[in-house]
Amino acid sequence: MEGIKDKVAIIGMGCTKFGELWDKSPDDLVLDSCMEAIKDAGIDIKEIQAGWLGTVTTGNSGTILTRPLKLNYVPVTRVENVCCSGTEAIRNAAYGVASGAYDIVIACGMEKLKDHNTGFNWARMPPDYSRVDVRTAPAQFFAKTATRYFHHYGLSLEEGKTLLAKIAVKNHHNGTMSPNAHLRNEITIETVLKSPMIAYPLSLYDACGISDGGSAAILTTPEIAKSLKKDYILIKGFGLSSGSGQPFLTTDYDFIHMEENIKAAQAAYREAGIKNPHEEIDVAEVHDCFTIHELLIYEDLGLSAKGEGRKDVEEGRFALDGALPVNPDGGLKCFGHPLGASGIRMVYEIYNQLLEKAGKRQVKNARIGLSHNLGGVPGANCAVAVFGRNN
């Protein structure tokens, strides 16, 4: 297995503002993010040879991308892997380039959640009507990991919630420096603790924003990238792991980690040649759909040692000025979470960080960046990607 390390470059990226974009249509979100990426790459739209579009609930087929962009008769595929559909679009696009099938391709992620009452169009998520099940909101699954994490490490409810609140406070702080973020306000631990309980033990401020948004990337070969511009990033490795529902089927599954996080990270590290993520990753964008998940991710991805997540949070390791800044753009928590768009939004931030274009939230000496994008509830999909600067 040779892998695709350093075989694909990202030369342009775009990302709309995320949020409750009542006056933006799905087409607007696709067009705005893609045009920004095309302009950033310095290419003409006619040079795009293929496309991948990631969306969970906002339409079917590749025409979601071709219609607004008028990509005339180029091959476009819609990919869907729940919330990691964005990373899946990039991953498939990268393989299209690495295989030699295409020279220049586009990957776009887009979601229009706020055209649906309460923000989630469950009717578009088959085939659950074919099963009888206890169906609950996503928050409940992560809340169950929080209950177990607190239990396992002997944290009282207050201790556990305070620990999680610190993660929310950090991401809100970072979000204030992200012009395109959905939520841009500083909060305190008290804000989180006093917010309404939604999914015990998680409160409103433990949850990410439900947002509209679009994001896009232009991928090409390193050779073409070099001919077009000075600064670009290279894909170092991808890992995708799809679970088969183990947390709910096996009684030895502990709920204080998520196996798909570990497996996807291992695959990405292997391809990227990362031996010690704790030291080698300079900046990370991770899938903090709920604060507890960011805590699990620290440990699952080896950014913290097992059981040391709490200590590292207390010591500020993941703050913008810490040893390993996580979610410098505010993460899902504050940048918002338009499902299919989130994966590419993460890469957008890593791209800006590695190219030192992140403004006030710039992480010093960021050479290797990671994005982590979960798809579904525990026991489902996780996509991890590692990126590096071209020089």
Partner: protein, 469 residues
């Protein structure tokens, strides 16, 4: 000899009453996720516990509050009680004496040798108009009996029935709440005359005297009338009349006489003779003789245990919410969080999983999995499994969350439970006290409604705190 070979009752955990409700008595209230079917299943489970279910060949289910007007309740009860597919089922509907009529039909089937064992279940959840007296005096509950001809614990000796068309209390096809004529009419022309005719007819038929009976189990429309009836018929209500439990249970409709019968059997001695009276559009009087077998089938969790195990609903509005009376325009009732309607063919093909909580046990590595998996999650064996029923297993809460955005059930407790003997399931928890929910708590499974949508009641098993330790 044909008679009762096992029995069990079920009374919901919840009570409405006390000063806060302006009530001098309590009444049993079915939880929002219970109905006549789920209560019949609970009584059936209580009745069948530890017995060989494959021997049952008929089920009669009596109620005046079937969830469906067209679609049988007995079939759901039979399936959820894990009875064989070859069982004959029938609903006995529309009459308050449905319970005793079902018992007599079961007797006839066994006596005629068209069945070996028949399970009779009766359950009701009737409603009076909001704030009207019946709302306070009705109760919800169920009882179940198995009628057979071997190891009989209470022989059904004889019966006498009277039919009478009278509008004392009724509902039409479209009524939610009972209609009634003034109680004095119903009593003087109805209960006092018709019930008396049935009892007198039975005693004459069998040549029995009042002193031949040790216990009178009488349906009664109010706390006093059965005592008056007994007295006029020459009985001593003080020593012979079974307490109708109206002040702690309420009038449970078609199951009322049968819950009282279960209570009488809880305390009966061999040789006791019980006079059972069912009333409604006529009356059934039945003479039952208790045998030596009674001590062997005596139910550990009897009526008294159910009555003692109770929680008060916090407010009258809770009752209204639970009965769907606060938002009558809602077509959908999502008790807990949200649910998508399940395709009807899926309900059908997954019926064993839904109705008996069937999981799979890998024949190769022994791992129990729920829902059933064709490919084993542990060893990867394909189609190498036995079905294993989980609905009767005790379980432990592994972890949980609570949904504060849910509607009727708030907060809705969502545990992941690990079953004794293996298997894990994500379920709802009902009949819980949120303050008592914790990792490691013991639970048992209970058959409930999980939601209602597009005219379909979705039944499933929920976890609940172990009710009797």
């Amino acid at each position: 000899m044909v008679g009762i070979t096992s029995y069990g009752s079920y009374i919901p955990l919840w009570r409405m009453g006390g000063k806060a409700m302006g009530m001098k008595t309590d009444r049993a209230v079915a939880c929002f996720d219970e109905d006549s079917i789920t209560m019949a299943v609970a009584a059936g489970e209580n009745c069948l516990k530890g017995s060989d279910r494959t021997l049952i060949d008929k089920v009669f289910f009596a109620s005046t509050t079937f969830p469906y007007k067209e679609k049988q309740g007995a079939a759901v009860v039979a399936a959820a009680c894990d009875l064989p597919q070859g069982v004959g089922t029938a609903d006995i509907a529309n009459s308050l004496k449905g319970g005793t009529s079902a018992l007599l039909s079961a007797f006839d089937s066994v006596a005629a040798k068209s069945a070996k064992k028949v399970m009779v279940a009766a359950a009701d959840t009737r409603m009076g108009l909001p704030m009207e007296q019946h709302e306070r005096t009705f109760g919800d509950g169920a009882a179940a009996f198995v009628i057979g001809d071997t190891d009989v614990a209470a022989e059904i000796e004889a019966s006498y029935s009277v039919s009478c068309d009278i509008l004392d209390i009724w509902r039409t096809q479209d009524d939610k709440f009972v209609r009634f004529w003034e109680a004095r009419f119903g009593l003087t022309e109805g209960y006092n005359k018709i019930a008396a005719q049935a009892v007198a007819g039975l005693m004459k038929k069998c040549n029995l005297q009042p002193s031949d009976f040790s216990k009178l189990v009488f349906y009664t429309p109010d706390p006093k009338s059965s005592a008056g009836l007994a007295k006029r018929l020459g009985f001593d209500p003080n020593t012979q009349l079974q307490n109708p439990m109206l002040e702690v249970l309420g009038n449970t409709g078609a199951s009322f006489a049968l819950i009282q019968l279960a209570a009488a059997l809880d305390e009966a001695k061999p040789g006791d003779r019980i006079l059972l009276l069912g009333y409604g559009d006529g009356a059934d009087a039945i003479s039952i003789k208790v045998t030596e077998q009674i001590d062997k089938i005596r139910n550990k969790n009897g009526v008294k245990a159910y009555l003692d195990s109770k929680k008060m609903i916090p407010a009258y509005t809770t009752y209204l919410l639970w009965r769907g009376l606060l938002n009558p325009e809602h077509e959908k009732i999502y008790y807990s969080g949200y649910q998508e309607n399940t395709a009807v063919p899926a309900l059908y093909r997954e019926r064993s999983r839904i109705l008996t909580l069937c999981g799979s046990k890998c024949k190769v590595c022994g791992t129990v999995q729920f829902p059933p998996q064709r490919v084993c999650i542990k060893c990867g064996s394909v189609d190498q499994y036995d079905e294993v029923k989980l609905s009767d297993k005790k379980a432990t809460v592994f972890t949980y969350s609570m949904d504060y955005m849910s509607m009727v059930d708030q907060p809705c407790v969502l545990p992941i439970v690990d079953f004794e003997g293996g298997g894990r399931a994500e379920v709802y928890m009902t009949d819980k006290d949120v303050k008592e929910v914790k990792v490691g708590m013991e639970v048992e499974m209970t058959f409930r409604k999980i939601f209602f949508d597009e005219g379909i009641y979705h039944y499933y098993w929920k976890a609940m705190p172990v009710r009797f330790l």
